[in-house]
């Protein structure tokens, strides 16, 4: 069965590269460029994975993460955060809010794909 990822990323060319990389691995990639509708879309779609940028128009990645984790139905959903904000404090905040994995930009494609595989592998703590 095709796996589904919701990618919330306002940077078009990064979104396109990720769509290509994950599409090649058999993922269906749904892209959103604004944070406002993200929670609603994710709640309805219940994807296998969420990938979040932090600095977004509308709601920030942190807000989306907090809202999702506040909902018991999404407490275990794998959420991968990709951000150019790599301060220790940002990482700590994301971890406190319940992120599954935090990666800083620029990341390597292999590193990103490994994280996706690990987070969605059968038996993974967050899968």
């Amino acid at each position: 069965m095709t796996k589904h990822v919701v990618l919330v990323e306002d940077e078009t060319n990064i979104a396109e590269a990720i769509r290509f990389l994950l599409g090649r691995e058999g993922w269906r990639v749904e892209t959103l460029a604004n944070g406002n509708a993200a929670v609603e879309v994710i709640r309805k779609a219940r994807p296998d994975l969420v990938m979040l940028d932090v600095m977004l128009p509308g709601k920030s990645g942190f807000e989306i993460l907090k809202e999702l984790r506040a909902d018991a139905g999404f407490a275990d959903m794998p959420i991968l955060m990709l951000t150019a904000r790599g301060h220790a404090r940002d990482r700590e905040m994301a971890e406190l809010a319940g992120v599954s994995r935090f990666m800083t930009k620029p990341f390597s494609n292999a590193e990103m794909l490994d994280a996706v595989r690990e987070l969605t592998a059968p038996g993974s703590l967050t899968a």
């Binding site: 060319n13 620029p106 494609n109």
Partner: protein
């Protein structure tokens, strides 16, 4: 004779060295020659503005008159010994060292002062890197573009059989992103090179005062006891290594006078007692303690257990005092978000605004902010009063049903369709 009592002798020594007559110096600083004579013979205490005026007239730093060169030298040597971890009998022999090897002692003390200055510069620049919204946004833009290029270039390099349609699209993307990267890098370099504050930022009076207040953790036990004592305030500002400029010391003295007036009117213990009963409710505390709300806000900010921040702005909206709180970003350069209650109460004396603020973008944190506006100075006929607004920033401790989305400054604020927006955000292209 005490060190303080020698100030007059040092003034006399400096005046004679400058070849100036007592009467001429007295005239220049606006006092009588007989009064200057009393000062020079250590028969009158001297401080404050008069000391600054004399120092200025003699072309020396006020500390050269109050402390003396030897004391300053020995203090620097002790500081150097302390920093280097020198202990034992040798550490206490700074006086002897300075006496036997005055040249070497000067070299060591100069190096110590230079190190201290450089450390302050590094600290200020580090702080600036963390808080300058232009720089933060530029770095974010660079990293994001670099991420797009890296990812796309890796696909082109690693994928042996890439469909022509994808390949062409990625080539276009790389072309776009590399141009964007070049433009962003050029703009960043231009910004850094053109910034006239880059070299002087470490010495701006306002930043000296902030460093001074932070070094004291915004708490002055002396003033809590002494109240409005000009001597105590002067001692604090003169002894502060953070306050390098006359302007910095002047601003700090004004801040300390306010602290002293507040301490005089409302003791910390009385405030703590009322807080235990009423909780952090400034209006209820003001009623109970019969104090203006602005004073309550300032005094609450001085309590370390509340972990509160404080902002004060004058009638022009310029932030003239800040006690930072983690997560609430106050831009050091450029204008603040006009939606903050700090600005909404300006000109509305007596109004107390209370708002749950949610600061978008950076930390996305929530705070309970209470602001009020107070008049300054005595009333006079047909003259609009000078006012200042005060805002206490408390970390949110419970979920609020309503909150106001605000930013730090428009340039890095992601709020959509904000009615108060002054300029487009560089985080997206909407206005």
């Amino acid at each position: 004779m005490s060190r303080e009592a020698l100030t007059g002798s040092r003034i006399r020594e400096r005046r004679v060295m400058a070849g100036q007559k007592q009467a001429d110096l007295a005239k220049e600083i606006g006092i009588s020659a007989s009064y200057l004579n009393l000062i020079e013979h250590n028969r009158r205490r001297i401080g404050g503005k008069l000391l600054l005026n004399i120092a200025n007239a003699l072309g020396v730093e006020p500390t050269a008159l109050t402390e003396g060169a030897e004391a300053a030298l020995i203090a620097s040597l002790r500081e150097a010994a302390d920093d280097a971890g020198l202990s034992g009998p040798e550490a206490g022999r700074a006086d002897e060292f300075a006496g036997r090897f005055p040249g070497w002692a000067d070299v060591l003390a100069s190096a110590q002062r230079r190190i201290a200055t450089l450390e302050r510069t590094v600290e200020t620049l580090t702080d600036r890197l963390a808080h300058d919204p232009h720089l933060a946004a530029s770095m974010h833009e660079l990293l994001t573009t670099a991420a797009a290029i890296r990812s796309t270039a890796s696909i082109l390099a690693d994928t042996k059989t890439l469909e022509p349609e994808w390949r062409d699209r990625f080539h276009v993307n790389i072309d776009q992103d590399s141009r964007r990267l070049a433009d962003s890098a050029q703009a960043l370099v231009g910004y850094l090179e053109a910034d006239p504050e880059a070299s002087s930022v470490a010495n701006s009076p306002q930043e000296e005062v902030e460093a001074f207040l932070a070094a004291h953790r915004f708490s002055f036990a002396t003033l809590e006891v002494a109240g409005l004592d000009a001597g105590a305030i002067e001692k604090l500002t003169q002894a502060a290594p953070e306050l390098q400029s006359v302007a910095g010391r002047h601003i700090a003295a004004n801040v300390l006078q306010q602290v002293a007036r507040d301490a005089n009117a409302l003791s910390i213990s009385a405030l703590r007692g009322a807080l235990d009963t009423l909780g952090p409710d400034p209006v209820a505390l003001a009623m109970q303690l019969d104090q203006p709300v602005a004073r309550i806000l300032r005094r609450m900010a001085a309590l370390p257990e509340l972990g509160a921040g404080l902002l004060v702005c004058d009638r022009s909206g310029t932030v003239i005092f800040r006690k930072s709180i983690d997560g609430f970003v106050v831009p050091r350069f450029g204008a603040c978000c006009p939606l903050w209650p700090l600005f909404s109460v300006l000109g509305q004396t007596g109004v107390v605004a209370r708002e749950r603020l949610h600061q978008l973008g950076r930390a996305s944190s929530e705070f309970d902010c209470i602001a009020t506006c107070e008049t300054l100075g005595p009333s006079s006929y047909n003259t609009p009063p000078l006012v200042q607004a005060v805002m206490l920033i408390l970390p949110a401790r419970e979920i609020a049903s309503a909150r106001l989305d605000v930013g730090a400054t428009c340039r890095v604020c992601p709020r959509d369709g904000c009615p108060a927006r002054r300029e487009p955000s560089i985080l997206y292209d909407g206005v």
